[in-house]
């Protein structure tokens, strides 16, 4: 497999921020996979440098999402690439360590970048690219108020780390040139549901197996709880007089706020439970480590 040099690494500001937050919120060190896509672009070859020929194509890797888990757990088997996202590399976040790849970093990077099954094909090109990106996140040795994180990106090429600069893509006029390469990919949970009345549901379920029907029923129920109080027929009420319109809208708005309130309470409760479990786990870990 040829190791093509990546010319540019892009990451959205939001993704980087959430990655940094995840690593600083974790109790210990974390690592995980980086997902995204790569494109070969030939349009961005405007350069003042005389030596670069106009025909140079740039290989740009973009990181769009990631998964993370504590470092002591091994990385899971990588998921298969989809049309829009592929495994482009991995990251390791460890507090207060030098910003250099460690023994484990190099072994993991080399094994990832040298496994042909994980290679993917960048958009508008015919080459295959292994997941060779490595993003290292550390914190300074002394706690500091402003400078709280350090990161460095590498491409693992033939058993060696090649430091790469990383450019952060945000929304705004100065990033307009990047809009052309933007491809939206929002992942909603896969729920095979349609908007339908109760009698339509009975009709549909005739041809389906019992298990399928059950699952659909469950999904539909879940969807119904989300749309509870926002039925389609209420839209009709918005068509009346102006007073009715305002009342109806205010009512809908109040309901929405109530739903948000309920949702945030739920989040609060589950967070408390997660924290409780975390503390319990921590105590168990301490007992195992002989710290009690």
């Amino acid at each position: 497999m040829d190791d093509f040099p990546i010319d540019k690494i892009q990451i959205s500001g939001a993704t980087l921020a959430s990655l940094l937050h995840r690593s600083s919120a974790a109790a210990g060190d974390i690592h995980g996979y980086l997902f995204g896509y790569a494109t070969v672009s030939t349009s961005n070859s405007l350069s003042d440098h005389p030596s670069t020929t106009a025909a140079t194509s740039l290989l740009i890797a973009t990181i769009t999402s990631f998964i993370s888990l504590p470092s002591h757990l091994p990385l899971p088997p990588p998921p298969p690439a989809t049309n829009s996202t592929a495994l482009v590399g991995w990251f390791s976040a460890r507090r207060r360590t030098p910003l250099r790849p460690s023994l484990k970093d190099s072994t993991t990077s080399i094994s990832l970048s040298s496994s042909p099954t994980l290679a993917f094909t960048p958009q508008n090109s015919t080459i295959t690219l292994p997941p060779s990106l490595f993003l290292l996140i550390t914190t300074p040795f002394q706690d500091q108020l402003i400078h709280t994180h350090e990161y460095k990106a590498f491409q693992c090429k033939g058993n060696a780390f090649d430091p790469k600069s990383i450019s952060i893509v945000n929304i705004g006029p100065s990033f307009r040139s990047q809009y052309d390469s933007f491809s939206p990919n929002v992942q909603f949970p896969m729920m095979d549901c349609e908007l339908r009345g109760s009698n339509a549901m009975i009709e549909d379920s005739r041809g389906e197996s019992l298990a399928d029907g059950k699952r659909n029923l469950k999904d539909q129920k879940q969807l119904d709880t989300f749309s509870d109080g926002f039925e389609i027929k209420r839209l009709g009420k918005l068509m009346g007089s102006e007073a009715a319109y305002t009342d109806e809208l205010e009512d809908l708005y109040d309901k929405m706020l109530a739903k948000f309130d309920g949702l945030s309470k739920l989040v609060e409760q589950t967070n408390a439970k997660v924290l409780e479990q975390e503390n319990r786990n921590m105590k168990l870990r301490y007992r195992v480590a002989g710290l009690e």
Partner: protein, 370 residues
């Protein structure tokens, strides 16, 4: 939980490493990588290599001390990938099936990595395009325990250091009853400049270095390195140095006996020594009295004994200064002495000298406390 503690599993591994390592390993700093509780789980090891030190950061995880540690090598060694040396992958290494309950695992890992590092530096230096260096390596490579290090500036090789262990004898066994913990070695450091073209290659920089504890037996500073002749290679030079060194070490070992004889000759006159160095016979302390004035006599015998007389310090057991510290005489080295005397005569003459000197010392003590 106490602040800044080392988790016991990690501590056991580290303590074992420090006490059982065949070379002295030091911990430079320890710190914590966890968020809230201050559990020290990372440390920098200072490991002797090629007559210098390499610093490796060992990264444990206090959140999960059962897991194997990670190691970060020095900033100049980013291409050192011990488990991917060459093309063959070694499936078995010190990190595979890590057992946190076995305190010897960290030491085994560090030894394995250090051996890999020796091979890595040797491979790197083998790749340097330098005629003389290639020749030197081909003649030296058969020597056991040789270590090499290449320093570079801006990715260009600058100089190559060799640390060549001298004398194929176990110095620890040479001295009966020695308490040396680490194997004692004398090494020759040879530094070659590389990557530059010379009409006549300059002599390498040479330095003889011994392990610290060896100083009790033999002082490497007393050794005068023979001069490097033009066109010489290290292998030739080593033969000359080793010959000289071997005879000097032999003398050093036999001089232990000479020192022991003097201490034994002092015993019938001063009584049994209350403290004496039985291994190297460099120090002995006797209790003596002159009338009612009792005092200690400290003898320290230099490596040049019997050419140099023993240095004597008298210490009163009755006079103390204002801090409660016993009063001591200055170092007494000027007294009648001949290296050709028999040990019994040396002892007699020292005794004669001290008979008079003790009176002076008593007077001196009396003046000091008034």
């Amino acid at each position: 939980m106490a602040i800044d503690t080392v988790p016991p599993l990690i501590n056991a591994q580290l303590t074992y490493l420090i006490t059982h390592s065949p070379f002295p390993v030091k911990v430079e700093q320890m710190w914590s990588g966890s968020k809230n509780p201050r559990l020290l789980d990372r440390f920098t090891l200072v490991i002797p290599y090629c007559l210098d030190y390499i610093r490796w950061d060992v990264i444990y995880n206090a959140m999960y001390p059962l897991a194997a540690p990670d190691v970060i090598f020095g900033p100049d060694d980013e291409s050192f990938q011990p488990y991917f040396g060459g093309n063959e992958k070694s499936s078995k290494n010190g990190l595979a099936d890590w057992n946190s309950k076995d305190p010897a695992r960290l030491l085994a890992l560090i030894l394995e990595l250090r051996a890999a590092y020796v091979a890595y530096q040797r491979r790197r230096i083998g790749e340097v395009d330098d005629e003389r260096l290639k020749f030197e390596i081909s003649t030296l490579v058969s020597r056991e325990g040789i270590e090499m290090y290449m320093s570079s500036i801006n990715d260009k090789p600058e100089e190559v250091k060799f640390a060549v262990p001298l004398l194929d004898i176990d110095l620890n066994k040479l001295v009966a009853g020695s308490t040396w913990r680490h194997p004692q070695k004398i090494r020759l450091q040879v530094i070659f400049p590389v990557g530059k073209k010379y009409s006549t290659p300059p002599a390498p920089r040479l330095k003889l270095i011994s392990s610290a504890e060896l100083k009790a037996l033999y002082s490497i500073e007393d050794f005068k390195l023979p001069s490097w002749l033009e066109g010489m290679c290290t292998a030739e030079y080593l033969i000359i140095v080793e010959e000289m060194l071997e005879s000097q070490i032999k003398n050093a070992v036999s001089s232990i006996e000479t020192r022991r004889k003097l201490i034994m000759a002092l015993a019938p006159i001063f009584g049994r020594p209350i403290e004496a160095d039985p291994v190297f016979c460099r120090k002995a302390t006797f209790l003596a009295s002159s009338g009612v004035f009792t005092f200690l006599v400290h003898f320290s015998l230099s490596l040049q004994f019997p050419k140099q007389p023993p240095a004597i310090i008298l210490q009163s057991s009755q006079h103390f200064n204002s801090y409660g510290v016993p009063i001591k005489s200055p170092n007494l080295t000027e007294y009648p002495w001949s290296p050709r005397w028999e040990p019994s005569k040396m002892a007699d003459r020292i005794f004669d000298f001290l008979v008079d000197e003790s009176l002076n010392f008593k007077k001196y003590c009396g003046q000091l406390i008034q």
